[in-house]
Symmetry: C2
Subunit: 422 residues, 2 copies
Amino acid sequence: MKFGGTSMAGIERIRSVAARVKREAAAGNQVAVVVSAMAGETDRLVGFCREASPLYDPREYDVVVAAGEQITSGLLAIALQAIGVPARSWLGWQLPIHTDEAFAKARIGTIDTQALDASLSAGEVAVIPGFQGVTADGRITTLGRGGSDTSAVAMAAAMKADRCDIYTDVDGVYTTDPRIVPRARKLAKVTYEEMLELASVGAKVLQTRSVGLAMKEKVRVQVLSSFTGDDAPMADTLPGTMIVGEEEIEDVERQLITGIAHDKNEAKITLTSVPDKPGSVASIFEPLAAANINVDMIIQNIAHRSPSTTGASSSATDVTFTVPAADLPRSIEALNQARETIGFGELIHDMRVAKISVVGVGMRSHAGVASSMFTTLGARGINIQAISTSEIKVSVLIHEDETELAVRVLHTAYGLDADEAA
Amino acid sequence: MKFGGTSMAGIERIRSVAARVKREAAAGNQVAVVVSAMAGETDRLVGFCREASPLYDPREYDVVVAAGEQITSGLLAIALQAIGVPARSWLGWQLPIHTDEAFAKARIGTIDTQALDASLSAGEVAVIPGFQGVTADGRITTLGRGGSDTSAVAMAAAMKADRCDIYTDVDGVYTTDPRIVPRARKLAKVTYEEMLELASVGAKVLQTRSVGLAMKEKVRVQVLSSFTGDDAPMADTLPGTMIVGEEEIEDVERQLITGIAHDKNEAKITLTSVPDKPGSVASIFEPLAAANINVDMIIQNIAHRSPSTTGASSSATDVTFTVPAADLPRSIEALNQARETIGFGELIHDMRVAKISVVGVGMRSHAGVASSMFTTLGARGINIQAISTSEIKVSVLIHEDETELAVRVLHTAYGLDADEAA
């Protein structure tokens, strides 16, 4: 069981988490609980580090911020004992949870579960701080923001747990954002691959890294609401969303499209009059890669001949691509520095774009998803500025103002609206 | 160097601590710094534990509250690095600082300093969280409230440090409370024994346990103000108070009386008409000892014969003693339960008392300190309710309202006023 910062924000909520853990343990389950810091606490501690020095040593930063989860681990153990559940906390260095030495963004290696297994077998609930581990030479590490989901999945894998229940602010994964489409349906099951595509394009339920790890380790992850009352059904019958391997989804359950995601955190850059010769496109993306900026969608317009000033005719093209909106200033700087090498005319950028994606493992065996998407959007007059596809996803870039309209018409077109599916 | 919670309360103050540490390191000293949690933080964490369960597991309590010093350790290391001082934090379990398993009030055993020595020799400043350690089986312990002073002295002993500088809210140990006697003098040196008597009777500068440890381990402890500006002289020339062995105090420096302490946290209990027979006094103090209540001063009035109701004459006496004021309700309960056994008449209690003590190793070789104390107080009409003495201390119990008058007249009588001593 993993509980986030909102569930740990204050003793009253911790007590409510303890009650929920007690019900699982009372049902005869061996339970390990991974906890986040109290909501706001990590920000407070990170703020202290930044104030002490903007260029803080990540090793000492980890010592400071790991304290947040240490505190909630001890408190949940106390709250469990108070209602008669034997429990103890196991800090990252006590198990230990081994990580590499990438302080502040460490990766979990192996986890020793021998002592933990003995404790669980003896009927104790284990409370484990998320987000933290320890290096080979005994220094505290943290996994980076949102790392508690990854801790939970890694613990579940190491313990060969039957299930990893992640309690969040939402009660599952939906076919799309219910704030945009009130008729969005909660998905009973979704594959790891679909979840990765849905997460990376905007359905912020689980940290992407944790889903990747769950896929690799074949951990069955369940997303549940932490705000259901104490009289809610047990987690194994709760209507959350199970994230599983494709083989666990029956044919009859399978839909062509699983969900529609949207993402407004992209920015579009167009370079005009790029010389249409070998290597010129590479010269655009090399400086961006060097600056560690992820380019997502790329579209190259048809080359057009233009009369050269020297009288000879030369060929040029416009190149359009997207980068994370937060990286736009650095992208512009990197491209302008490489202007001589690339030889482009103008740099035009646009933050007012949105990426809309239809996701579903079902599209692997069905052609025509992309074309029906373009047709549906075209019928509503929505202009497509760029396209990218993967095996289980088709994404288009459109004007930001048309996001909600696009999501709604696609949700209906693919038969995802609640009453139709029922 | 040890800094308390007020010195660590916020990044600005931590920066100021870092500057002071830098000056010591820059002077060629190897420096280890022991830090408290930010002022108020330990109370916050203790409050969480109590709210989670009044009967919290001390093992989990220790996990929670040890986080406070962990945070300030990392922050001071960052602040030191920011001003060019190589530094790293060493948590209790990293050194490790071994303790027994008395969670929440653990005692330090051995401290491994091998890694620490190597770090100091390499020119790093070591930052060590006070108040914490680790058991043999790797669980976090804390030393109890105020334990950071003890941590600092224990570290100094383990490292064979030349000096243990304790920075506090006051700038040294005074002949008496300067709020009562403005002409109180700061003592340049005081012996461990005197400091123990002064501390235990009210001069709350250092935790008593840390002074006892310093005496046992022969650690030279200096009490200094943490609020002196950055341009203050170096600690080895700062006018704080050195706490040292008696052999370090020259004959010419020696005073008959070192200081006058007062303590209003005592309560007086009188039991009337206690049968004057063997064992009856023991029957009073046994139930108090069983309830873990420390009895301090005891006075037994002269026995008086009274006619018995049976016609035979029997002998009875009044017994008066003091207990900590906080333990008064429990004391009354314990005594009333033992009333049959003791056979006393009335139980009279009085919180409005104060204990005044004159302290000084010099009185070992000078008779007459007690009698001059009684004479001085008697001349001012101050009634003495009880007396206790040790080798280097004479204490009297008086009415609370006369505390300030008594301290002032004794301070003058023993020649401690600043202008007289100068």
